[in-house]
Symmetry: D3
Subunit: 239 residues, 6 copies
């Protein structure tokens, strides 16, 4: 699978997750937003990248002790160095945020490596420090407890569940100040331009509403509003 292009990334960065959601809903997808996960830190731009997955199952006392991290092949540690720059590391913690799936050291390393972001439906420890990274991080909540207490890292780059949504390696993840959406890889090339177009139309609509327009005939726009929209576009998006 080829990496997504810079043009596609740029296009997606102009779209909110809400708008992408509408485009997927139109195509019959009703379960696309990762549930129970919120932004902890933000980068300078929207998070956009292909999914690189890490899967956890429940911890077992004999397998999950502090000694495991001495093994460089431990899947969690391996994933941190294996996720390619530009991709997003996304973890399946079965929605259990009572223990961490990472902390400030691992998240700092990801940000230094040029990774596009981090998503977990588990917890994160050192969350106040992570909040200061200029790096997109989405999580289930603060959890000082270490992952070994609840989570056993088992494999990477397999299809996973995250926050109730199916995530296949290579799916495109977009995260804004609200949430993260999973775009099935084969749809991203058609969804992105439609979403960008919708963004522009909604920008026009909101400018009309700010100027006092009723939503009737404007949202969604009927003929007259669509004509004004075309004018507005010609004027470069100015009222």
């Amino acid at each position: 699978m080829d990496p997504i292009t810079d043009d596609l990334r740029a296009l997606l960065r102009r779209c909110s997750v809400a708008t992408l959601c509408t485009q997927l809903f139109k195509r019959g997808f009703r379960n696309t937003v990762i549930q129970g996960v919120r932004p902890l830190a933000q980068g300078p731009e929207l998070m956009v990248g292909e999914a690189f997955t890490l899967r956890y199952i429940p911890a077992r006392e004999d397998l999950d002790h502090l000694g495991v991290f001495n093994d460089p092949a431990h899947p969690q540690r391996r994933a941190i160095e294996a996720v390619p720059p530009g991709q997003v590391l996304i973890c399946d913690c079965r929605g259990d945020a009572s223990a961490a799936s990472g902390g400030s050291i691992l998240l700092t390393r990801l940000s230094k490596r040029g990774v596009a972001g981090f998503v977990t439906d588990g917890g994160l420890r050192d969350s106040p420090e992570i909040a200061h990274l200029k790096f997109p991080v989405y999580f289930g909540g603060p959890a000082p407890q270490l992952n070994l207490a609840r989570h056993h890292a088992v494999d990477m780059n397999v299809p996973i569940a995250c926050g109730g949504v199916a995530v296949f390696p290579g799916d495109v993840l977009v995260g804004d100040g609200e949430a993260v959406i999973v775009i099935p890889r084969h749809l991203v090339n058609e969804v992105a331009p439609d979403a960008a177009e919708q963004e522009q139309l909604e920008e026009f609509v909101i400018s009309e509403v700010r100027n006092g327009a009723s939503i009737v005939g404007v949202y969604p726009p009927k003929e007259a509003a669509l004509a004004r929209y075309q004018e507005w576009r010609k004027r470069g998006g100015k009222n």
Copy 2:
């Protein structure tokens, strides 16, 4: 039902939801605060207004497609233009915040129309934009998914449940930085002055406690403290 008076609004704006809660508790009401709902945006003053209700039931795939918004009679869109200025639009989404019950366009329109606020126990999309409106908004959480994916708008101005509380059209809703309370309409004229009085007494109590007083004899105030309170009121609420 006559609209509530400006005097009553002013009186209620001097009261916290906590204080109004105590007044309703005194009168035998134990379930008055909308649960699972928090402030997203705040106006320049506390939110005060009569309830104008909108009811959703679960979505059904054949009824809830994007085409429905072309119908100006769609209950959600109709409610946005129908709620009278000074009232609060409040939605029953069955506490399901996994999909939106509105977004920045609709909320902007409400704020432009002079509506007093918006409350939903469902989600809201475009929540980062809505947070910048100078308009009281209370919600169940950010949800980029559009309402059609989970919620079917069915009727308006009927009694509803919101966050586990009964809301009848015309009930008075007050929202502060903490929560929203539902005051049964027939009680608001007696609850408001009692709550305002309680606010003043508690302001006195906290000033004493800030000055080092024990709570014994002061909270609740016994005779000596009540005498000091009368002095304090005469001094215009200064220690």
Copy 3:
């Protein structure tokens, strides 16, 4: 039981809850972080203090009316004046945050009395005001409803549950910007120095990672990294 020493307090204040968690995990404790509780207000330093407990059971209509606060022996009011300076008042509200276990007057009083902090797995009313106190407060969420509506204060200084964790009077509570941990009293003297040492090592690790190091061989540190760490310590913790 003697109070904990100032040296021990100072040592604990240099440790995050996450680090203390690791130290207790090492010793076989997997359930040490209070769940469902988050910071509302912060003092100038981390919260450190011995647990002074207050236990609630569900309210009963005939027992829990506003008149009870006229009795200075009411356990909630008594606890406010009884918790010794330097200790933390911690409440068992059975994880029910739909009603308050305190408000701004009681919390102000605690802060004036030199108490070390307040923790509840119930709610708090007047939460926007409490957020401005320079006093460590951890809670289950904003709840304008008064405690009498759900909670009956029953006794103090007995072992309790708080957020799913056992808390014995005298256990040491540490709270940072993320969470509160319960350190069994008999372990605090060995846990504190080990945690402080771990903090320093992790500070070194993160400085290396910020400089571009891979986590391999560094986190956890192998021989070479440990040698660099010793150098770093000699240099006073500077790269």
Copy 4:
């Protein structure tokens, strides 16, 4: 809306809810089974009937006292006498089964009136007695607490939510030993025969599997199995 015919009832009684579910899934409906509701009592046949709805909102202390039942216009009591024979009374209790939405007297009355069944996502009191009625009853759980403690009956024959599913008056409800499904009224005439056909095919498949067949080529059936199925039908469904 005409009542459903006896032929249609007979056809639906030959179908399990699971099979009807598959037929609706085929047509794009994924949310058709009432959640959190289980059988309490069974009639001599599967429950089949049109939905007659009753809606509850949360109780309010001043409105919901024992005196209300003296009013024959109370919606709950009115619904009991108003639901036509052959229809199913279905209640929206917001999924709160901590209080009843009926008891043995009301359920006995429904069974005497020739009503087709009763469904609630709330509780039922006197559940051990109701279990002995020869009458289809589905409920959220036993709840001796009376409805007034949590539920305020507000209106009937409006669209409702029940167990997370939209129910419009006149929709066809089918209940078996497992669950209740809501069939949108306009689809019932096409869904019923397809489901009855599917039942027959699955009866054939299970007879083959009982005889030792692998599921490969049999479930779903490929050409050879379909040929055997045609033979089996000719033989009157015997192996």
Copy 5:
């Protein structure tokens, strides 16, 4: 506190929990039925007895190991031998039924000792065996995990929470095939006769409904029905 009399026990045994619930609701009590707890075993009669309480807090790994049962002063084991015959042992497990609060040996011992019943909002192990005891047992669910894994027995005969309800030692517990109710001790002498009277009236009402009467004028009974009721009573409760 004197034990309850045999007459009172006999009176209460003629009442369902639902009826007792109505009587307490009438007196302003809305939270009287233990939630999340169901019958596992039944004795020959309804369970009636005074509450003898046992309180658990969360387990701690160093305190809750198998060795503790060697100590005859362990609160769980002590409670088994201490609860007086005729009383009910009721446990506060914080509603956590993922571990047991007893098993077949302890429950058998209770039944041999003449204890009136056992109630827990935690789990029970050996539940299939316990189901065969002729002894009233109510529980949160089957849980083979031993109590030490989650629950630390801490004290007995203190006020507790069980299934969301306050239970004071000496309160009267009544359990039928549906649920367990907590009757505040000071009310039992007035509640019992009123409930027994209500039972008789409802027996009459249901007999009329079985004979085809409408509920209008009968439930609740108006003048004519009340007259028939008086006749019915004279006839010794026969139609």
Copy 6:
């Protein structure tokens, strides 16, 4: 990995899940019982067998349509024919029992193939029919909705989560009338005989308790009781 021996199976069949739980607890394992799963059907003996796993992630509308079952390589269908006789098919449905992970046809096939049992933390359709199979089945609840509506079968024989417990292929599953336990494979040879021994001791203890013994000195047994136990064993387990 060699299959477990018939001797080991026989030994495990003499042990309840509760007893096996105690043995694992003794060895430091606190999370061994599958949560949220209950028996639906029982075979002639306790379920004992090695885990053969099937993993589901959330469904996606474009991937999970009825056509997929035409593909014999579909993981769910493949697993049904692939699980070796004597092993248990266990499914990870993320604890979501709102849709099925099988129905009567597939379960009948498993029972015909000599498979040892079936466990899912999802739902099952046709549950009333399955309840009549003489085959051990454990499930999260009845769910007529087909798996495609919520679950996407993704791979088999990988480590999974089931009901909050880690399950590795080859782990030994034991199920009785109460629950299912997961015994890590490397421990089963030591756990089984110890559990069988414990069963015998507890049989003795319960016989003493049935004869009126106090639990003091008997449970756990002190010297005198242990002596009687040795006698009892010599007598072949008779009092």
